[in-house]
């Protein structure tokens, strides 16, 4: 039996992506009115403090704002294919994916490359970013399709655009990363463990969301609500509606 290998959501052609990425048409209404997912992303973005660089939204945070997880996923994939969003894998946990807008990502990458004397790589990097919208990229693709030398790749690694994922014989797979994401990661890990510590110390491991949001988190500049969305979305806590607002209960 012969099987076809096709993705469920057809990925767009590169030409289409290029035109979509560079063309902004103010009369096109579909671009003006944001979808639910885009609105949720911009809501979480507003919570993000400016001191930590470009705003980062975690994919599962959106699940706590919107009910239908499947449609959120599908919309994120189509945004990714349209070069509006970048998805970056965080090593904090196996299910953590960070979303960042394409323009923010491109400007961070450009400035990071410029500061490390990688002026000649900027154009190529932008080309790669439009062509490879996925979380990973293989070495074959970088060297064959984009004709990067090992030196260029190591410059990309030093400037924080690529992170080595796995070595399988000769072929290597790289994860895309955001230059300077480590300060966010450090802050985020501290904050997440702090909020879980608060939940664990409670007598019945449950608290009203309003009461939790009044508490202070130590060691992080990210706001409390950012972490509340995080723990609800990742289903570490369960949200139960009560007459005095949602109640959060820690799941085992």
């Amino acid at each position: 039996m012969k099987r076809r290998f096709t993705a469920v959501i057809p990925s767009r052609s590169i030409e289409e992506r290029r035109t979509k990425a560079f063309k902004t048409n103010p009369t096109d209404t579909s671009e003006v009115i944001p979808s639910d997912t885009e609105a949720a992303i911009s809501y979480v973005k507003r919570l993000f403090p400016a001191s930590l660089g470009p705003p980062i939204v975690l994919q599962h945070q959106l699940y706590s704002l919107l009910e239908d997880k499947t449609s959120v996923d599908k919309e994120i994939i189509s945004l990714k294919d349209d070069c509006k969003l970048r998805i970056i894998k965080l090593e904090t946990s196996s299910d953590d994916y960070a979303l960042i807008s394409h323009e923010d990502y491109v400007s961070t990458v450009t400035s990071s490359l410029r500061s490390r004397k990688g002026e000649h790589l900027v154009d190529k990097a932008l080309e790669i970013l439009i062509d490879c919208v996925d979380v990973t990229v293989s070495k074959e693709k970088l060297t064959k399709d984009f004709k990067l030398t090992d030196k260029d790749i190591s410059l990309l690694v030093i400037s924080g655009v690529l992170v080595l994922k796995e070595i399988d014989g000769e072929s290597r797979v790289w994860w895309f990363s955001l230059p300077g994401i480590s300060s966010f990661k450090k802050d985020f890990i501290k904050g997440r463990s702090a909020i879980l510590q608060i939940m664990k110390r409670l007598k019945y491991k449950e608290i009203l969301q309003n009461d939790l949001e009044k508490k202070k988190l130590s060691g992080t500049v990210l706001p409390m609500e950012y972490f509340v969305l995080d723990i609800i979305g990742s289903e570490t806590v369960e949200s139960i509606d009560t007459s005095s607002g949602p109640l959060l209960r820690l799941l085992e």
Binding site: M1, F5, T6, A7, V8, D68, K69, S94
Partner: protein, 389 residues
Amino acid sequence: MIQLLRDRRAGLEEEWTLPKVYATHKWTQLSLSRNREFERSHDNGITSMQLDHTSQRYLLSGTTDGSIFIQDTRYQVGVARQTCPTVAFNRGSTTPSSHTHSISELKWYPHDTGIFTSSSMDKTLRIWDTNEMCVVENFKMSTPIYTHDLAKAIKHTLTAVGTKDGIVTICDMNSGSSSHILKRHKKPVMTVQWSPSDEYTLATGSQDNQILFWDIRKTRCPLVSLDQHNGSQGKNSTAHNGYVLGLQFTTDGLFLISSGSDQRLRLWDVSSTSNMLINYGRIPHSFKNQTHHFSLTPPSLSFTPHLLVPSHSDVSIYELFTGRNVSKLKGHYSSVTSIDVNSNDIEVYTGSTDNTVLIWTAVNSIELNTESKLSRQSVIYNDTWSDED
């Protein structure tokens, strides 16, 4: 509902629409049955359960001490409080033919209730004669068996057995010997499923995070390994970020549902072998070295298929194609291990490590009405005479 009735009368709707919509609505209203229960004969936690395919009547259940029970779920007309009796059983370690270790999987022969098969951690797969309650064939493996599945096919009588050493053995019931092995998984095989639409296709899931599709006529290598990222993340394809613990085909064989120790469910399109990317959320469970059994609602009784997934001591019900959580069944005191759906009636049976099998039905006004009518009848026909008079 009334709108639908009117449409049906006017001929605006197909005739199957109304019963299906009604049945679908009932799946969201499942609760513990008020007037039916199983006879309490299990002394140990239940590990596996199956209702027979042909008559939807006999429930086969196995426990951790190797005992096997068959219970009759027939609806007794006119009895207000019903107990489903145990009609046959075989206690573990009592006779030479009984299992000595925990039962890992029980399966009825798909075409009649005369035969059933049991596999156990004591490394044996046994074929039983239901009427005599004795073993007629014994397959010995070299390592503990985690799972097995009988082909629903007509052309062959093969059984696929998944064992701890990562090998899938194909046993033939006709000849009483194993015909060949499928070797690719690096870690214990936790689940095997025959495709209901293509009798030579087998899906296997293992602790090496992979789901493989096999054509059993070509055993050298699997047809395809399912990839959760649809090929966008490197070469090594994994289906889950943890062990694959459960597999289930939809009845038409077009989709495959898998469950993993990463506490996720995934829906796969079988024809293109791609991830449908439906997000069911996190389904907390503590299975690690045990097959995660879950069940689908029968297509004849539901408008959209629903998934019934054990999650700790509860059972969560999800819409298959949207991933929306519809409801939760709470009733067991400890982890639910097995589940089956009666497709003649809207009835769900769940087995748990708290030694009980519970019956879930949709609460409907009709059932309550018959109960009250019965009690009224019993008042009317009650014998008021006393022997002493």
